[in-house]
């Protein structure tokens, strides 16, 4: 019962935040200098034609009307139509979302696969040279900007060795082989940076466990170091790791634009940049809304995961 009530309260906060976010996003779009009709007509535009186009696109109607129209549409997944292309926004977002989802969906699990053993080893061997080396390397990886690492990777593996294509994208449906080839470098780059970042948290988490009473007790009862850590340490460390991974998924979704730029991938980030450039506000606000929704949804999920991981939260007081 407590669990359900806690979950319900979190859901309410989640939905409320989404609503507030939608209003903020909508108003921000209106405040943006630059006009979609002006950009479309460009340097050959006459003021009358710009006005005419604004009229056609319904940009001169009252703010409130446009906001509620947009909000109402979103309830049944209708984000309106792109002003410039006249195409439903959903049709523009769908293929882009696929690319970004692949990037995030592949790089986060792979990063965890690398980061957990890496952090664990580095925690256990922290007083030895090899542990220090792993730790130092993760610092280096953390310091490398993702666009720099990406550019270097493409120079080495595409230009010098010619093993992989330098950039570009093909969808999985069109050609699975090509798709895989073109995903290796961007995903690899993300995995390096992400795993270095996550490994730091894993390491700290395990080091904390090492000084806990329950761990000492486990050791005293004859368990080996590793068994103690994996049986008792994992779950304790998981709470903080889940928080960080949640934050990382959010920042990857939003920050994928950098990696998309370097590897010329048609993801959400590049759609956002492009639409801001043409002031196609319907697309911009839909993408931003989607990202905000995703970030909030991830936080919500993380909250629920806490309840699942930590039995203490399920009884009595919730965090």
């Amino acid at each position: 019962m407590v669990v359900l009530r806690a979950a319900a309260r979190r859901l309410a906060v989640f939905l409320g935040t989404v609503l507030v976010a939608s209003l903020v996003i909508f108003l921000m779009m209106q405040a943006l200098p630059g006009d979609v009709a002006q950009v479309a007509l460009g340097m050959g535009a006459s003021p009358e034609k710009v006005e005419e186009l604004r009229q056609t696109w319904g940009l001169n109607r009252p703010l409130a009307v446009r906001y509620f129209e947009w909000l109402g549409g979103m309830l049944h997944f209708d984000f309106g139509s792109s002003l410039v292309k006249g195409q439903p926004v959903v049709d523009q977002i769908r293929p882009r979302l696929g690319v970004t989802a692949w990037l995030v969906g592949l790089s986060i699990p792979l990063s965890l696969l690398v980061a957990i053993p890496m952090g664990l080893t580095s925690a256990m061997l922290r007083r030895r040279a090899s542990g220090a080396l792993i730790n130092a390397l993760s610092h280096v990886g953390l310091a490398l900007p993702v666009f720099f690492l990406g550019a270097v990777a493409s120079m080495v593996f595409a230009v010098k060795l010619q093993w992989l294509p330098a950039n570009g994208y093909r969808s999985f449906a069109q050609s699975p082989g090509e798709w895989a080839l073109r995903m290796i470098l961007p995903v690899g780059t993300l995995v390096i940076v992400q795993s270095c970042f996550l490994a730091r948290y894993v390491r700290t988490g395990f080091i904390d466990v090492l000084s806990e009473d329950y761990y000492r007790t486990a050791r005293a009862s004859g368990w080996t170091k590793w068994r103690g850590l994996i049986r008792h340490g994992m779950r304790n460390m998981a709470t903080s790791l889940v928080t960080v991974v949640g934050l990382q998924v959010s920042s990857l979704l939003v920050g994928a634009v950098l990696i998309e730029q370097v590897f010329v991938l048609p993801g959400l980030g590049s759609l956002l940049v492009q639409s801001v450039g043409s002031r196609d506000l319907m697309v911009v606000q839909a993408v931003v809304m989607l990202l905000v929704f995703a970030v909030l949804a991830i936080n919500f999920l993380v909250d629920l995961l806490y309840l699942w991981i930590d039995p203490r939260l399920r009884r009595g007081k919730t965090a």
Binding site: G34, V39, A45, I134, Q162, N167, G188, I192
Partner: protein, 493 residues
């Protein structure tokens, strides 16, 4: 080696082994892939003025009655020949009777009339004004189009080689997403953010296209363009916006580097409605105060010719006037002193395009040396269009004007420079009306007027920088139109 990099390397090695069999080598498929920097937001070139649309579609998908070659000469295309009446008012175009659209519909006089009408009604003011001189368009027979002008115009036929002259398939109902024309290639697909693919028009009425597919890939990042070209992923890097990296392509057994010219004048524009900028001495001082040769070195790797007025080397009336105001800071200071101008402070509001910010910093520093305080402000392009272009809220700005023969913009006092010189306006009108023989000398007078009046400071001509892999031939040296014309390109393989 750390555990991490070992894992990654292993992964990369393993996967590349598995998939290397799938990499299509560029030689085995009859596909031409071209990297370009800007993706348009729509393909409708009658409403949207983005140069990227005609870059991909003009001459490749869409054809015009007459066409301009890379040397600037006019050739017949859909019209097998044309005749001009003695009073230069009537143009009779005889259509090539073989000509048909990719859909199979023949190109007849009615389609041409409908297309010209479509352009005349375009919301694009540039297109409108190019066609404003037309009195009437008629189709006396199925293969004859007669255009009557209100007054003789040398510019008009020239405009007809560009977007204004496109003949649209009457069946086209969606210019924005599905362009249909009569060219050797037809529109196949457009993956937003990635590529636009053209497929060979199997029933083309003229010399057929040489490739099964032509792919334009959108690569905005200059480093990504270089990497894609070096790794063999592209056949042609169609626009090199990082001139410094051209040295990476010096291996002639692998690459051909083309350095030609374009129609793009990079203009330091003055707002003539501002008191300070109305002063000729101030404008002259600014021109004398900027070392343009050094600027080109700093901003564009030394590629790009110097000019002194709104003309480019491929214009028939081009003259080298780049020495009109040579770099002379002392003279600049003297001009300002004589005019009694001191403590001059000007805004330089520029769009954040590849050349803008660097050029602006350079100019601000050099004008600082002659005692002019320049405040640089960067605006993203939509904001620039609104505040600078539409509202005229600026003293100076920098933009490349890529359209052909855009010197006429200086005759439009409403244009964002607000340059109002009745003498120049009369001269342009005179040149336009004059006989074809007189056109060139009359235009030269006009061009010199602009130069002497320091109506702007013309920084340099945007170079046409292209890299092609070995075996690709036929790429136009100079970009005389907005089209990236693939109809002349072939591959040895």
């Amino acid at each position: 080696m750390s555990v991490r990099s070992g894992v990654i390397l292993g992964l990369v090695l393993g996967l590349s082994g598995i998939f290397s069999a799938c990499v299509p080598s560029p030689d085995s498929v009859r596909e031409l892939s071209i990297g370009i920097t800007v993706e348009p937001t729509t393909l409708d070139l009658t409403t949207d003025s983005a140069a990227a649309i005609p870059q991909m579609l003009l001459y490749n998908v869409y054809e015009t009655l007459v066409k301009l070659d890379s040397q600037g000469a006019i050739h017949p295309l859909l019209a097998s020949r044309y005749e001009v009446s003695a009073d230069s008012l009537t143009y009779s175009f005889s259509l090539d009777h073989k000509a048909k659209f990719a859909s199979g519909t023949p190109v007849d006089a009615d389609c041409v009339v409908a297309s010209i009408d479509r352009i005349r009604q375009s919301p694009n003011k540039t297109l409108q004004s190019q066609m404003a001189v037309i009195e009437s368009v008629e189709a006396p027979s199925a293969d004859l189009v007669v255009v009557t002008l209100k007054e003789p115009s040398n510019f008009w036929l020239y405009s007809m080689t560009g977007v204004a002259g496109i003949v649209f398939d009457p069946a086209s109902d969606d210019l924005a997403m599905k362009p249909q024309g009569s060219g050797p290639y037809q529109f196949d697909s457009w993956t937003s953010g990635d590529r636009l693919t053209l497929a060979k028009n199997e029933s083309y009425w003229g010399t057929p296209g040489r490739f099964e597919n032509v792919v334009f890939r959108f690569i905005p990042d200059p480093n990504a363009m270089v990497a894609a070209m070096l790794s063999g992923d592209l056949d042609i890097a169609g626009e090199m916006t990082s001139p410094d990296s051209l040295s990476l392509f010096s291996d002639e057994s692998k690459f051909t580097v083309i350095e030609g010219t374009t129609n793009g004048e990079v203009v330091l524009g003055f707002n003539h409605s501002r008191e300070n900028m109305k002063n000729l001495a101030v404008r002259q001082a600014i021109c004398h105060g900027i070392d343009r040769a050094a600027l080109v070195n700093t901003v564009w790797g030394g590629k790009g010719e110097l000019i002194g007025t709104m003309t480019v080397p491929t214009d028939p009336y081009y003259e080298d006037l780049s020495d009109t105001y040579s770099f002379d800071p002392e003279k600049a200071k003297q001009l300002l002193a004589e005019a009694g101008v001191s403590d001059l402070s000007l805004s330089l509001r520029i769009p954040t395009l590849p050349y803008g910010p660097k050029a602006a910093t350079f100019i601000a520093s050099q004008l600082g040396d002659i005692g002019i305080t320049v405040t640089v402000e960067e605006l993203d392009f939509p904001r620039w269009l609104e505040e600078v272009y539409r509202d005229g809220n600026y003293d100076m700005t920098i933009v490349a004007h890529v359209e052909a023969r855009d010197i006429v913009n200086f005759a439009n006092r409403e244009y964002y420079w607000k340059y109002d010189n009745p003498e120049f306006q009369a001269q342009i009108a005179l040149a336009d009306r004059s006989t074809p023989q007189d056109f060139v000398p009359q235009m030269q007078i006009a061009a010199r007027m602009l130069a002497d009046d320091a109506a702007a400071n013309w920084l340099f001509v945007f170079p046409n920088l292209i890299v092609a892999r070995e075996g690709i031939t036929g790429i136009g040296h100079n970009m005389t139109t907005l089209s990236f014309d693939v109809t002349t390109i072939s591959s040895k393989d």
